[in-house]
């Protein structure tokens, strides 16, 4: 058994303090210590993007970070996007455009899209495709995801609040 370290982070706006082994992956910390199982682990090799979270506002592979190494950071996961009544406009467009099937990769795509549309409110198709190219979806063939992000951009520009 290895030593445990204190880690304090802000997750979805809440302060979370815990003791973890140095080797505890951020993904496992979120999923199994905090119960935020919306972040999925698809490869643990940093390739598939299913575990993508926002780390201090930027997309990060939670399978490639140790929890101790992100001590003090602000983390957003898929659980933070919707409120009790309404989905985030990006989520709503994923629903409308049938941009998910099994839904396993979807949280990673959603957070990647959040980052894109925060920095680039009016992306063209090529920009969207490039932004999503490091997330793998094996179900949809991507076209509906690209459509959903494009339509969500329109909604957000028209002032629909996330």
């Amino acid at each position: 058994m290895t030593d445990e370290y204190e880690v304090t982070v802000t997750v979805n706006g809440r302060n979370r303090a815990s003791r973890v082994e140095a080797r505890r992956l951020l993904a496992d910390f979120l999923r199994h210590d905090l119960g935020l199982t919306g972040t999925h682990i698809g490869c643990e090799q940093g390739v598939c993007g299913a575990c993508t979270v926002l780390l201090d506002g930027r997309t990060a592979r939670s399978c490639l970070h140790f929890a101790v190494a992100v001590d003090g950071s602000d983390i957003r996961t898929v659980e933070d996007l919707a409120d009790l009544d309404e989905l985030h406009p990006i989520q709503e467009m994923f629903h409308q455009k049938h941009a998910l099937q099994c839904g396993f990769c979807t949280p990673g795509f959603l957070l990647t899209a959040v980052e894109l549309l925060e920095s680039t409110p009016d992306p063209d198709e090529a920009t969207i495709r490039e932004a999503l190219m490091n997330n793998v979806c094996r179900c949809t063939g991507y076209a509906n995801i690209v459509d959903a992000v494009a339509e969500a951009a329109v909604q957000l520009r028209q002032g629909r609040q996330p």
Binding site: L87, H98, C102, G103, F104, N135, R138, N144
Partner: protein, 811 residues
């Protein structure tokens, strides 16, 4: 953007409520739920991150975790396994080897009844000898997943490496090592078939067109790796959660091989993150996990990592086809010969066995064509590689790459257009129903129409005219167009499985309709979803057939304790078998509702109309009762006596076993640009015209097609699972095994033709696999067409830049 999920051309002509007006307890007339792009019920919770995949399930606090020790060798003798250090590690509960597990789990085996099939078994952990890289030799049981991994590092296995064989061609060398003790000469199976006139056909032929086709090994790579959680309950019962597609078959197999009463087992399928056929296999880890939970009397969990997934999930498509067509001067195929060799891997995997691709390719290659004389030999060989079983399309991407490649070669030889050669050989719609040369009936379809419509949508003639005028090489890119017109096996019934030696694979599925005391409807179906949208589509079917409101129908599936037995979810079955079973059960429930309503309204059942969750007397809409009011009578929750002869409750079950197979069809046309310098392929246009009979939900059908095409693009252009000559894996990460991303997959044009099945209840045909099946041949043919002027032969996949740039250089 052209990828319009609502863009179902030809929609609406068919697909209205199947219940005819005037029948007893007739259903909703007019615009039903079936045929509508109803948005999915599954989405909200998945989008919120509330999906419950197997690793998301709350495991009991005392859950033990497994990690497997995998062989680094493809073929080796196990001299010794020292588990003492691992077992001594704090937090490790036990370490078990093959002999330990053999006391708990019988050797597992696929049951194949084909003449000449070599029966073979697999120990769930290898004993004495390993037969592929990644085969498990020991399992560590620990208090956490991290500790289990630590334990794996401490298990010391002494191997004596032995010569390995990985290639089909090596397997039958006289001096090749024997992979499996009960598979002599490494031939699992050799099947033969011949009609009488094949030789005459070849003698009469003006031309014989021959080609060898090679298909790389691939695997499905669902983004969720496999996993399971076994939780012992009271009285020795076990609840087994698994990311499987086949919960009933898994339960039966667990009972058989663990030798426990099936009735003490319950298999539950939570959300599954993609299956694509590889989760329709029964895996050693599942048996080990269940056995250890029973043995240790504690919950046991195993979640696979990606390395294990790539090495140990079943693989597919490692096939060689040698095809010869006897052709007359008009391009008509007079006779066809196919010599098919498939690599079955080291063991015949459960439940379909290593002959799945072998018999599949041999039986499906004739496709939409009027092949009247046909012979095949179809061989499955054993090698030191991962077992081969089902991946979306099973055999069809390869056998259609072969037959469609032959059609293009006929066209080149006779200087005809490839589309014209196809049209001349196709079975026209007017001749349907038609039974093909291996006895498979095509009840309805649209081979010619799908090709003609796809050509129009793809501006095929204009493309050819431009090619003629400008040549194929423009601005440094060779441009080509490729066609695949194909039949798509779906909804296979018991006779279809028996024809392929799968006598223990049932074929039927079940549906139960329960109208609850409040009038709401629960529909149980013996399927399990992995992204198909069953909660939505099955509710659409039930709403129409029962006369319920769509929002009042809840679908329950993926649980052996909920509803009767079935064959479950693979091979494009669910719409056909689950839909058929639910239609039949709904009809029974509707009739009961009508009988009860008739008694309450002092009418006769024949005069009761059922629609929108209401029952009323025909012509008198005011004399109406809601489902809830009628259900109160069935549940004795009012003062109305249950009519004589009726039983309490409204709960009706029925089963549906489809015919031999339910044949869908489609045409795909790919337009590609091959870079003359680096050999990269851009897909500049992609058109699909698909016919899956009566469409339940066009949006979901389009999603299935698009997702399948994306996988086909991967398979045609980039995906390849590589073993080196020693059987070492060269593609053990997703950085090596390449999957298509958002910049590799284009937008699509999709249209549907609806030729409802007349053989299958409900008129539905399957749609799960066609996207992939059509993509591989159409893209390979398009690349071949692009490089036509260079005289290079394109007869293999994947068509990676390195291969194509070499072909272009050497031309």
């Amino acid at each position: 953007m052209s990828g319009d999920p609502q863009g179902a051309v030809g929609q609406g002509a068919v697909g209205q409520g199947a219940v005819a007006q005037g029948t007893v307890g007739q259903g909703a007339v007019g615009r039903g739920a079936v045929g509508q792009s109803v948005l999915r019920r599954e989405d909200d919770y998945l989008l919120r991150g509330q999906g419950r995949f197997v690793d998301d399930l709350p495991a009991p606090l005392n859950t033990l975790h497994l990690a497997f020790v995998l062989s680094p060798y493809a073929h080796a003798r196990i001299l010794s396994i020292d588990v003492s250090e691992a077992r001594a590690l704090d937090g490790v509960v036990d370490v078990l080897t093959g002999t330990d597990l053999a006391a708990m789990v019988k050797p597992i085996a696929a049951q194949i009844e084909l003449p000449g099939y070599s029966f073979n078994t697999r120990d769930v952990l290898a004993i004495d000898e390993v037969r592929f890289a990644g085969e498990a030799v020991a399992v560590v049981v620990a208090e956490s997943a991290y500790l289990a991994e630590d334990g794996v590092e401490l298990v010391d296995v002494d191997y004596e490496p032995l010569p390995a064989l990985t290639e089909i061609g090596e397997a039958t060398d006289p001096d090749a090592p024997q992979v499996n003790p009960t598979v002599p000469g490494n031939v699992y199976y050799e099947g033969r078939f011949a009609t009488e006139g094949v030789d005459a056909g070849f003698e009469a032929a003006a031309h014989v067109i021959s080609e060898d086709f090679h298909s790389s090994r691939v695997t499905a790579v669902p983004i969720e790796p496999r996993g399971c959680l076994a939780v012992p309950e009271h009285a020795g019962n076990l609840v087994f959660y698994s990311s499987t597609q086949i919960h009933h078959l898994l339960r039966t197999a667990l009972a058989e091989f663990l030798d426990v009463a099936e009735s003490t087992l319950r298999v539950v399928v939570p959300d599954v993150g993609g299956g694509f056929g590889i989760k329709a296999a029964l895996y050693p880890e599942e048996f080990v996990c269940a056995a250890l939970a029973l043995r240790l009397r504690r919950p046991v969990k195993w979640i696979q990592d990606r390395y294990e997934a790539l090495l140990t999930d079943v693989h597919a498509r490692d096939n060689h086809y040698r095809v010869q067509a006897a052709v007359d001067d008009d391009g008509i195929v007079l006779a066809l010969k196919a010599e098919i060799r498939t690599n079955g891997g080291a063991y015949s995997a459960l439940p379909f066995g290593c002959t799945l691709e072998t018999t599949g390719g041999a039986r499906m290659i004739v496709g939409p064509y009027r092949i009247t004389e046909y012979t095949y030999t179809a061989t499955a060989v054993a090698t030191h590689t991962a077992p081969v079983l089902a991946y979306r399309g099973v055999a069809q991407p390869v056998c259609f790459m072969a037959i469609e490649g032959i059609m293009d070669r006929i066209a080149r030889r006779l200087e005809l257009d490839p589309a014209e050669v196809r049209l001349r050989n196709m079975v026209p719609t007017a001749e349907l129903p038609w039974t093909n040369i291996v006895g498979v009936r095509y009840d309805t379809g649209s081979f010619v129409e799908s090709l003609e419509q796809a050509m129009e949508m793809a501006n095929y003639d204009e493309f050819r005219a431009r090619q003629e005028a400008q040549g194929r090489l423009v601005d440094g890119k060779y441009r080509g167009i490729g066609i695949c017109t194909f039949t798509e096996v779906s909804g296979t019934g018991a006779p279809g499985w028996r024809a392929r030696g799968l006598t223990r694979l049932p074929g039927f599925d079940s549906g139960t309709i329960k109208v609850e005391p409040t009038g709401k409807v629960t529909a149980f179906v013996s399927h399990a979803h992995s992204g198909q949208g069953h909660f939505t589509t099955f509710a659409q079917v039930v709403a129409d057939e029962l006369g319920a409101r769509l929002e009042d129908v809840t679908v329950v599936e993926g649980d052996t304790a909920a509803g009767p037995y079935g064959t479950n979810t693979f091979a494009s079955r669910s719409a056909v078998t689950g839909g058929g079973a639910l239609i039949r059960a709904s009809e029974k429930a509707r009739l009961k509702l009508a009988r009860l309503a008739a008694a309450m309204l002092e009418s006769t059942p024949e005069d009761i109309v059922v629609a929108g969750g209401q029952l009323h007397v025909a012509g008198v809409p005011s004399r109406a009762l809601s489902f809830g009011e009628v259900a109160e009578t069935a549940y004795a929750m009012n003062t109305f006596d249950l009519p004589e002869g009726e039983s309490f409750g409204i709960e009706e079950t029925d089963f549906y076993d489809p015919p031999l197979v339910t044949m869908a069809n489609a045409t795909h046309i790919a337009q590609v640009a091959v870079d003359a310098g680096d050999g990269t392929v851009d897909i500049e246009g992609y058109t699909v015209v698909h016919d899956c009979g009566r469409v339940i939900n066009p949006m979901i059908v389009d999603g299935q097609v698009m997702g399948g095409v994306a996988q086909g693009i991967g398979e045609a252009l980039m995906e390849e699972f590589v073993y080196d000559a020693d059987g070492q894996v060269r593609t053990a990460t997703l950085a090596d095994y390449l999957l298509p991303s958002s910049v590799d997959v284009p937008n699509f044009q999709i249209a549907h033709i609806e030729s409802p099945s007349i053989d299958a209840v409900g008129g539905f045909k399957g749609v799960g696999e066609g996207g992939l099946i059509g993509a591989v041949p159409s893209i390979v043919n398009a690349v071949a067409d692009a490089l036509f002027d260079l005289g290079v032969n394109v007869n293999t996949k994947p068509l990676r830049p390195a291969l194509l740039s070499r072909l272009i250089r050497e031309a």
